[in-house]
């Protein structure tokens, strides 16, 4: 079969991939997008996202107040503990200033700034309808620009010569096909949906992980590229995981499987013991550590337990709570040793100090003399019925990626640069986020590096 030939081949079909494809096509390049998912599930993890973090000096149509470069940089430094490439990070932050307007040109729509989840309205612009709507707009624009999109196309091979990309081979339901291109953009995500790869790192525990996003991020392109000599970046043994409802589907459960009840009650493991301060900080700031905490518990399971006083204080879960009239009954229904759980709750209740409950503030409701103590929002569990939600680690993304330079070109081992191989999105996010996460920055990375990669791949 004669290989098809393009100016730019984009491997992947999420936001970073489409940003690259649209920018390249806008500059006149002939572009093919090779998306592994079927059309219905296109868009990688971008189909599950909500917003993009953007710096801005003055309020805009979609962002309130101001969010400076230095403040954004400080947030990146804080969450990564300094494991970031500051040059790349600052370049990205500066480019984020006009990102929403550039996306508008591609037909992407945002919520007006005074609507919705206001506590993020200053730092993050919200896609109208969320990430799937974003991807629909981007694909529609790709159609208008004549970008060829091939769904169900899994990349199984990359042909390179002296760190120069020549072609990509894909497996589709119709058989294998080869696509030649003058340049390639790697935007195929991480490896968080590859259960075998996860098991190589975390062993048996990995089988109890739930993948919050797309099942198509199996890291094939990442693996091929690392094997071809790309310089890795990011901790290969780390992933971003949050505690989600254990009843979530194995893949693609997205946002609705999250649980917000944790800081309002106690969290116990399968033996009925508490293991961490549930009231350490505001939930949005802490929910990312609970994935790891639950992953470290036996059988990677835990239970959030609240009483009926606080039921209306958290966003209702999509799964019904397990309800019982007493703690002992509750223990029986979640298969936790009755005596231990009853004793845990009794100890907790008697350790609660008097205080004024305020779930909007770091209040003075705390326990004393427990290991671990609960430092805020500690109220006695005394109002039946009692509710339990089972928890599992929900993996969002992995940190391992390929190193890139300021033009989004892949850096090879030994320091050379692959002149026609660009990377964008999660596959290179480790350059900015060596670890940690702050809401919406994944989309900033995907958008900005997608645009840089698309521009570079189209010839600069």
């Amino acid at each position: 079969m004669i290989p098809e030939s393009y100016d730019v081949a984009v491997l992947g079909g999420g936001n970073a991939a489409l940003c690259a494809a649209l920018v390249a096509a806008d500059r006149g390049a002939r572009v093919v997008v090779l998306e592994r998912a079927p059309r219905e599930f296109r868009g990688g993890n971008s189909r599950h996202v909500r917003n993009i973090r953007c710096m801005h000096a003055v309020p805009t149509d979609v962002l309130t107040d101001a969010y400076t470069e230095d403040e954004f940089m400080a947030d990146v430094l804080r969450v990564t503990g300094g494991i970031t490439n500051e040059t790349l990070a600052r370049m990205m932050i500066r480019a984020s200033a006009d990102a929403t307007r550039r996306m508008n040109r591609f037909g992407v729509r945002f919520q007006p700034s005074l609507r919705g989840t206001l506590h993020l309205g200053r730092t993050n612009a919200f896609f109208l309808g969320g990430g799937k709507a974003l991807m629909n707009s981007a694909y529609a624009h790709a159609g208008r620009l004549g970008v060829r999109v091939i769904y169900n196309a899994e990349v199984v091979g990359l042909t390179m010569r002296d760190a120069r990309f020549e072609s990509a081979t894909v497996r589709t339901p119709d058989g294998e096909a080869t696509f030649q291109a003058k340049a390639v953009v790697l935007a195929a995500g991480g490896f968080e949906s590859n259960l075998e790869w996860l098991a190589d790192i975390w062993g048996e525990a990995a089988k109890n992980f739930i993948v919050r996003g797309t099942p198509y991020n199996t890291g094939t392109v990442l693996r091929l590229m690392l094997d071809a000599g790309a310089e890795p970046v990011g901790d290969p043994t780390q992933c971003h995981a949050v505690a989600i409802d254990a009843r979530a589907p194995k893949f693609d459960g997205g946002i609705v499987t999250r649980l917000d009840s944790l800081p309002l009650g106690i969290v116990v493991n399968k033996y009925g013991d508490r293991f961490y301060d549930e009231g350490e900080d505001y939930w949005p700031k802490r929910y990312a550590i609970w994935g790891r905490l639950v992953a470290q518990q036996p059988d990677q399971i835990a239970y959030s337990i609240v009483d009926s006083k606080v039921v209306h204080r958290f966003i209702p879960s999509v799964f019904p709570p397990i309800v019982a009239a007493s703690i002992r009954e509750l223990a029986a229904s979640i298969d936790v040793p009755t005596g231990t759980l009853a004793a845990t709750v009794e100890r907790f209740n008697s350790a609660v100090r008097p205080g004024t409950f305020d779930h909007q503030a770091l209040d003075d409701c705390r326990t004393e003399g427990l290991v671990p103590n609960k430092t805020h929002w500690a109220q006695r569990l005394d109002t039946p019925p009692f509710l339990a939600y089972p928890l599992r680690p929900g993996i969002t993304f992995t940190y391992l990626g390929v190193k890139v330079d300021e033009r989004a070109r892949v850096v090879m081992k030994g320091g050379g640069v692959a002149e026609n191989i660009f990377a964008a999105g999660e596959i290179m996010a480790g350059n900015i986020l060596g670890r940690g996460y702050v809401a919406g920055v994944g989309m900033t990375i995907g958008t900005v590096f997608g645009e840089i990669a698309g521009k570079g791949a189209a010839g600069g």
Partner: protein, 359 residues
């Protein structure tokens, strides 16, 4: 207490609202999601309210990460469409007439048959030389016939509205409520605000936003309103001023009726075509056929009315009049049992939304 809509549909709608409430990505699209966020649980009344608040603009289906084939299978526009029609049935008075919502074409044909019978019976003669309609059917007979079915239709719809309120809006409007809120709700209804609430038009298919559905609805609604105004002015002429029909082509009733008639030719055809070209996944088939049957009656009413106007001097005018009045009769008698009622429940839901928003 009215019977609640189908339990299976309610369960499906409740499941979908629970998923939506945990997601909330669609909150900037329309009031359905904003009203949903005010709730933690969803009673049949809540769900009926949300179903009737939905304009079926369709954005939330394409934006949904959980839409089929995802295993959660969320399709809010379609589910609320099904629930809407079931709620119309449950509010119908008398209750046995609810069957009309399930068999709209049979109901329409039956109503036409009764209409032909009624107007043929009322006709004294089919031989008249001038344009004097009242020589075919005397004025008082016409007033009596349409007065009775008009009053009946109004009564049936008022009872339906009360049943809706009892289920979906039990606290109802408060006396203290300012005129401002109901004024806003009326404006929301009259401008079809929520068919372009995001600043762009509603969708016919993924990423396909077109203004036609709104414009054709405006043609239909305002066409209907102009025809109603024409009849009202004619009644004033006749009863108060003693000016007897036929009126000149340049008279107020004829001008209003002609403009309204034009709207009722263009609007229904347009809406029918829009409905046919829209993604069928957005709307329940029962709601589509309900709409088509109503559009057909509106179109025929207007068409026969305009033909009658143009050919009123012709010898076969009496036959045309009998046909026209038969269609008008069918339109009136099916008003409480067809698509028309969506306006009543939508307006009530919009008023409730504006009221909740002000709390």
């Amino acid at each position: 207490m009215a019977e609640t809509p189908g339990a299976a549909t309610l369960r499906k709608a409740e499941h979908e609202m629970v998923v939506c409430n945990a997601c909330r990505y669609c909150e900037a699209y329309c009031p359905v999601f904003q009203a949903m966020e005010q709730r933690v649980t969803f009673s049949s009344g809540d769900l009926t309210y949300l179903a009737n608040l939905c304009h079926n603009c369709g954005e939330c289906l394409y934006a949904c990460q959980y839409a089929p084939p995802h295993e959660f299978g969320i399709d809010v526009p379609h589910t609320l469409s099904t629930l809407r029609v079931e709620s119309y049935e449950s509010f119908a008075w008398p209750s046995f007439a609810a069957v009309a919502f399930r068999r709209p074409w049979i109901a329409t044909i039956a109503a036409l048959a009764v209409g032909v019978l009624a107007s043929a019976t009322a006709a004294r003669t089919l031989r008249v030389r001038d344009a004097d309609f009242y020589r075919v059917i005397p004025h008082d007979t016409m007033v009596l016939l349409f007065g009775i079915i008009g009053l009946f239709a109004v009564a049936a719809m008022a009872i339906g509205h009360r049943r809706f309120t009892a289920l979906a809006d039990p606290k109802g409007p408060r006396r203290s409520e300012g005129a401002g809120r109901s004024g806003q709700a009326t404006a929301d209804a009259l401008t079809l605000k929520h068919l372009h609430a995001t600043g762009e038009d509603c969708v016919d298919a993924e990423e396909t936003r077109r203004p036609w559905r709104r414009w054709m609805h405006h043609c239909t609604f305002y066409g209907f309103a102009l025809c109603f105004a024409s009849t009202t002015v004619a009644a004033i002429y006749h009863l108060l001023l003693g000016w007897i029909a036929p009126y000149a082509y340049t008279s107020v009733p004829v001008v209003l009726g002609t403009l309204g008639g034009a709207g009722l030719l263009i609007g229904p055809v347009g809406l029918f075509l829009v409905d046919r070209s829209r993604d069928p996944q957005l709307t329940d088939a029962s709601e589509r056929s309900l709409g088509s049957a109503f559009l057909a009656l509106l179109f025929l009413t207007s068409l026969t009315g305009l033909i009658l106007l143009v050919l009123r001097e012709k010898p076969y005018m009496p036959t045309l009049l009998v046909i026209h009045l038969a269609i008008v009769f069918a339109l009136f008698i099916t008003l409480p049992y067809g698509k028309f009622v969506h306006g009543i429940y939508r307006a009530a839901a919009l008023a409730k939304f504006r009221r909740e928003e002000s709390l």
